[in-house]
């Protein structure tokens, strides 16, 4: 682990709609193995990534049951990242933009993420060694 390094990542895309979701989570995973603090600012649709109510489903085209399909949910992937952070000793600070949460009704999240604002993003940026802003289109 690179001692003392801080990385901030800003993401915007809602889950299940863009290739950037998995890329962003891969970056965060890699960062938790290198940096001491990883701050994620989830803006706009990205706040839906941590929604507790996400559920896996069956796949009628493939003929699989829910159990067989083992459909990923982003909330589980992110829970995995929090577990990784505990394992590596890094801090994962996942901040969902509060106003974005409100308008999307995305307030019920898994354990770990917190509600925040652009101010929190800026405070994290000020302390960061690196910042990655992943845009949406």
């Amino acid at each position: 682990m690179t001692i003392g390094k801080n990385l901030t990542v800003a993401i915007m895309d809602p889950p299940y709609e863009s290739a950037t979701t998995a890329t962003a989570l891969r970056i965060i995973d890699a960062a938790l193995r290198q940096a001491q603090v990883v701050t994620v600012f989830a803006y706009e649709g990205a706040v839906s990534m941590t929604m507790k109510a996400q559920q896996p489903h069956a796949n009628p085209v493939k003929g699989t049951t829910v159990e067989q399909e083992e459909h990923p949910t982003t909330k589980d992937w992110i829970a995995g990242l929090f577990a990784l952070a505990r394992q590596t000793g890094a801090k994962l600070d996942w901040i969902n933009c509060g106003l974005c949460v409100d308008e999307r009704g995305a307030g019920e999240t898994i354990d770990g993420p917190r509600r925040g604002s652009p101010k929190d993003f800026f405070e994290a940026v000020k302390l960061s060694d690196g910042v990655i802003v992943i845009p949406t289109h």
């Binding site: 690179t2 890699a30 960062a31 290198q34 910042v131 990655i132 802003v133 992943i134």
Partner: protein, 74 residues
């Protein structure tokens, strides 16, 4: 400067692709052109245009954490 190709951007890095030569030109000009190894495998891009190097996403993180580095995502 490093140009790090992720997601569908790696499709243009396939040997023989229309714009692959542009990436090779950049590499010859001294730009490090790197393609995400996972994205390459995901898209079965087996042969890269000259000058393009496959790498893990951890390298992107390392680059972002390098002092004086600006990351611009396009």
């Amino acid at each position: 400067m490093t140009l790090f190709l992720v997601q569908n951007a790696v499709l243009a890095a396939r040997e023989g692709a229309s714009h692959a030569g542009g990436y090779s030109d950049l590499a010859r000009a001294g730009v490090a052109v790197v393609a995400d190894a996972f994205a390459l495998r995901e898209r079965a891009v087996d042969r890269l245009a000259s000058g393009i190097e496959p790498s893990g996403i951890d390298r992107l993180v390392s680059l972002a954490l390098t002092p004086q580095t600006r990351v611009i995502w396009h």
